[in-house]
Every structure is written in structure tokens, then in C-alpha cells.
Symmetry: none
Subunit: 191 residues, 4 copies
DNA sequence: TATGAATGAGGATTCATTCAT
DNA sequence: TATGAATGAATCCTCATTCAT
């Protein structure tokens, strides 16, 4: 892992522990095990870390999603596995997701959001397209748009749980079932 | 408009222009046309503004929603009008929504989120309950949870538009249709 | 004495003691008995102090010159008194003069030099003009130019002493005599 | 040109462009086209460059002076040629002269000033001595002191021009005539 | 209530200098 | 000799907060 990656990973860790506002650059470098000045060789400011962090987070998500979703499963199961994976990532990293969101939103890095999320959107879009061709979901589904909508919906549903009821695992289970049900109907799935 | 409101409105304006992080209290008081010290007569800190801002925003949203949704309309139409209203508010205030989100999320004001959004959730939950009782939507719908899910979905769908395609009104139209379609199926509406 | 003046005087004192380079803003504020931040209410940087310091120094010089030079004295004596005064000021403040020079020279404040020195130049120019009219100095003297030349010459002669022989008062005496002699001839004075 | 000279010349160039204070060693090495660490193989610090720069400047001056002043000319003409040469050098390098002055003055390198200027002072002192022996200038002239005084006077007169009227060549001409006149009288030259 | 100059702790940032390669 | 990434002490500067008026 090179220095830049070390900084990003240290930042994720520290941000999770104490939030962005309260995190000093000195905390990040301490966690990364590098000198104060070294930070500035790679990033001009704290906020400029955000796109790099977002990228890592989406990669993590993709990794978990791809590990969770079995190629051989039916689309219906795949969808459940996707929801499961997103709830999982949100559970593990919900502080970070809020941070990324605000970090990207509050800066000029907005445009990078699309780029960063692109592989995730694309992956789901392809799965939807297949399902549509197999007649498993209603033909009126527009794969690209629906992919974004589903990811948005599931993330927001998952965040709601950990936002308010951060301890209650039960709530997560119930919410997840509800989301699956909601999606199945929304997509017009039969069986 | 009293001083407290002046501060809140000045803050919304300045936050929209330069983001939360880059905004100093001195910027806010300058915009509000008051003295530095006066701020502290009304708010103990910059972040304590957030719930007040969120409240104003949700009020704006509720006002628009209630103005848009006709009591006499069918549930199906009501739902469309709700989507329309949320897209509208998001269009006008999408920067602020990100700010509120990050502002509430990054502080200890998290708990207030629920309070602030409560009237909106409740309003939709009641509409869903009615529709369920009238047999217009599937009986398996859990009104409270679904209300949150719908608002989350519609907001995230609307934000996606204004995040990337902030100028393209057409995109908004198409996305809106898609959302309506998605919701109708998800709720299991017949007719 | 207002805060701005307090800062300028503290800066002069500290610069004399330890030089510009080695002086931290924190040293200046400590000497001025004010808080760190207060400095920045009045000056944006250390170098921006220079014109203000130069002004004070020229005022000091003018004060000493005017106290030393008797209105009733002959021009010849006035000139000697002027030389005496400049050697005096240079003796007391030679560190500062180098600082002012480099401080003004190394920044964009060059134009202010003229303004700051103007009253001194003018005072001598008027004396020269009088002497010319009285036939005490040669008629070919151009009062304005010669005033600057004399001040430049005497300052540089005085600095040379304190630059190299900073302790040797004798050297100063001899150099002063030499300068007076030089000037008397240069001006074509017959007593 | 060896590395040491490359560094000195790069430093002169960068100092002229942005002043001493604002110049980082990294700027100098960039201009010199060498690596950061290489600087320290030749100079222990930024300020230790100053004597080397001063030396180069005095060499330049001496070269111009020696090229301008004809051995065969009368002392009167030699003096004019000297003034001409100093005005020339000041015109070309007045920023640097201020820098050297402040650079040498603000450090512990003060003693080196004498060394660096020595050949120039000595050259003029010898010319004055000759003129004195030939009875061309008044016998009361002290060659060594007067040499320093003259160089100080001419440099300060020249700087005044380029400090304020950096574009006005006419001013330089007039000032030069005045200086020559002033010197001729000061030295008590007949013929 | 309202003011705004003053505060000073906190943290960002710089940059001369080092040293393993 | 030459390199340039890494260092971290030194210092700048900000800005939330206070308080005398």
C-alpha cells in the first residue's frame, strides 16, 4: 500500500471514530504513521480527501456486493442478496457514508460522485437488463434509471435504520424484508 | 421577521453560496446585518443552527406538499402530486438538503432529524393507511415504514437529477414518471 | 497611543533586538501586550508593518533634526548640526534603518518611500534655497536634487561607520568632519 | 558554469523576481534545475548565498567600471566615467543591490560586506591618491574615506532615480550631471 | 438587547533540512 | 556527487467566543 492509500485508509478510520469536523490533519497523519508535512505532498486539504475516500468506499461496497451475490442465483435471490449487502455495508460504514455525502456535496467534487458510483450503477443495470430480457421483471423497466433508483432507495432505507435505531438489529431485519417486498412489487416480479 | 429568523435565513443563503464548512459565523452575521455578538444571543454555535434550518426547510416542503396535494384527489393522483412537490422542493433547495443532511448527521443533532421530519412522515403515513383501508394498495404495506421509504426514494431520485443534470428539466420529467411507475407497482396499486 | 501605534512601536523595539527574520509575530504581540489575533486586525503581515515603521522613523529623525538645528545659526552651522543629527539617529537606529530599507525595498511598498521621506527632503531643500538666495552656496545648486543627494550621502557615510566599526566613536567623529568638509566644498560655500 | 555558479545565478534571478523573503530554497533549486538536496552540498543556508551573490555583483560592477574608465583619461574624466558606470550597474541591477544590502545587513554576514566591496573601494582610493599627488584635487582629501563616501553618494544618487523614476532616462542624465558637479566641487578640483 | 473590538487556543501550513538510495 | 521524498519543528493565521460598553 503506497503512502496515498495509507493516508486515505487512516482518514477513513479516524473519521469513523470521531467525525470529520473533529478530526485534525494531525490525527490522520498519526493514524497513518507518517509526518505532518507528508500529508500535504498528497492532498492539499482535508476536504480534498473526500473523492478518494468515496472511491475506496464504493470499491468496498462493490467487493461485498460481488461476494454476496451469486452469479448462479435467481434474480429474485440476487436482489435480496444485494439488499443484504447494502444493509451490511451501511451498518459497517454508515458514519462514513454520511461523511462522503456531505464531503462530496459541500465541495466542488460533486461531479466526481457520478464517476465514483458509476461501476456500482452499471453492475446493477446489467443485472436488471438480463432480468428484463428473461421476462422476470416487467418490460417497462428502464434499466439505467431503475438501477440508480434502487440503490438510492436501499441506501436511504438502510441509513434510516442506523440513523435512528443504530443498535436495533431487529429493526434492520424488518426494514430489509419490507424493502425486498417493495422492490419485488415495484419491479413487477412474478415468482 | 424577527432577528432569529433573520439569522436562519441569512445562514441558508450563505450556506447555499459557499457551503457549511467554509462559512464563518462572521459571514452569517454580515449577511444578516447584525453584530457578531448578537448571533450568540440566539444560537450557541454554528451547528445549532442546523435544526432550525431543517425545520424551515421541512416547513417549506410541507407547505408546498399541502398546496400541491388535493384532499379530494384519488390516492393515485395524490401520490403523483407528492412526487411532483418533492421534485419541486429539491429543485429549489437541493444544496440545502445536502447541507441539512450533513449538518444534522455530523453533529449530535441526529436525534432531531426524526423530530423535524416527523410531520412529513406522519402525513404520508396517514394517506397510506387510508389507501390501505380502501383497498387501493396492497394490504401487506406497513404504513409508517413505507412512508419513510417513499420519501427517501423520491428525495434520492430527485437529488440524483439535480446532482448531475442540474439544468436538464427533461430529465426531471422522465425521472418523475419512472418514480411514479415504480411506486405504483411497489404499492401494488390497481387502477 | 492607540493599538496600531502600540504594534508599530513594539515592532520597532523587537526588530532592533533580534532582527526582522528572527522576529515572530508572536514576539511583537507579546511586546505590545496584545493578543495574537489582534495583530491581524491592523496588519495583514509582518512586512506590511514596514511603511508604518518607516514613517515613525522619519518622524523621529525629523524631530531630532529640528531639535538640533537652530533657526538662528548660520547655514554652515546648520549643515554641521544636520550631519550631527543624522549621525546621531543612525547611531541609535542603524539596525532599523537597514530593516526599513530592505523592508521597503523587498516589498511592493517602494512607492511609499518617497512619501515617507518627503518631509525630510523638503525641509533641507528649503534651507538650501535660502542659502542659495543669500549667496552662501554656489548658485548652480539645484535645491531639491541636492537635498536628496546630501541626505543620501550623509546617511550612507554614517551607516558605513556603524556597519563596520560599530563601537568606535572616534571613527564617527572623523567621518563626520570629513563629511562636513566634503559638503562645504561640494556646495561651494565661502564660509 | 559549475553547479555552485548555477545556484548563485538562479538565486539572483529568483530574488529579482520575487524578493528574498518570499523566495524558498525550492524556488532556487527549481530555477537552477537541480535537486533539493544538491543545494546543501554547496551552501549551508539561504542567507549564506548572500556573500556569493554580493561578490558576483561587485565583480560585475568592477568589470563595467574597469571597462568604462580609461587609464589614459584625466582624473576629471575618470570620475565622470565612474559615475556613468555606477549609474549603469544600478540601472541594470538595482533590485539586487537592495537585496544584497538587506541580505548582508540582516545577517551575520555583515563583516563580509567590507571584504566584498574592498576591491572597489581600493581601486577608487588609489585613483584619488594619484590625483592628490598630482595636485588635481585638494590635499585635505583622505583617499580611503573619500573613496567610500563617493561610492556611497553615487550609489545612493543612482538608486534614488531608479527607485522612483525607474523609467525616466532623462532624470538619470540630469542626476548624473548634478553628481559630477557636486563631486568636482567636493574634491576641490581645478580645471 | 445589541455591539464589535479583542481574545487566544487550536490547528493548518510551510519549508529548511535530512538521508536512504 | 546527486537525488527528492519524507520529516516535523516552527510559526502563521483563523475564527468561535467573550465582554465591556
Amino acid at each position: 500500500m503506497n503512502k496515498k492509500e495509507m493516508i486515505v485508509h487512516a482518514a477513513i478510520q479516524v473519521f469513523r471514530e470521531q467525525g470529520i469536523e473533529k478530526t485534525k490533519i494531525s490525527d490522520i497523519v498519526k493514524a497513518a504513521g507518517i509526518a505532518q508535512g507528508t500529508f500535504y505532498l498528497y492532498f492539499p486539504s482535508k476536504l480534498s480527501l473526500m473523492p478518494a475516500i468515496a472511491e475506496v468506499m464504493v470499491e468496498k461496497t462493490m467487493t461485498i456486493v460481488q461476494a454476496s451475490v451469486q452469479e448462479s442465483a435467481t434474480f429474485s435471490v440476487k436482489l435480496e442478496q444485494l439488499v443484504e449487502a447494502i444493509f451490511q455495508v451501511t451498518h459497517d460504514y454508515h458514519e462514513i457514508q454520511a461523511l462522503i455525502y456531505s464531503g462530496l456535496a459541500s465541495t466542488e467534487h460533486l461531479k466526481e460522485w457520478e464517476t465514483v458510483y458509476a461501476p456500482f450503477y452499471q453492475w446493477l443495470s446489467e443485472r436488471l437488463q438480463e432480468a428484463k430480457e428473461e421476462g422476470i421483471i416487467r418490460p417497462s423497466i428502464h434499466a439505467d434509471r431503475t438501477a440508480k433508483m434502487i440503490i438510492g432507495l436501499v441506501e436511504s432505507a438502510a441509513e434510516q435504520i442506523y440513523l435512528y435505531d443504530s443498535e436495533q438489529e431487529d429493526q434492520a431485519r424488518i426494514q430489509q424484508v419490507e424493502v425486498n417486498d417493495f422492490l419485488r412489487h415495484a419491479l413487477g416480479m412474478h415468482e
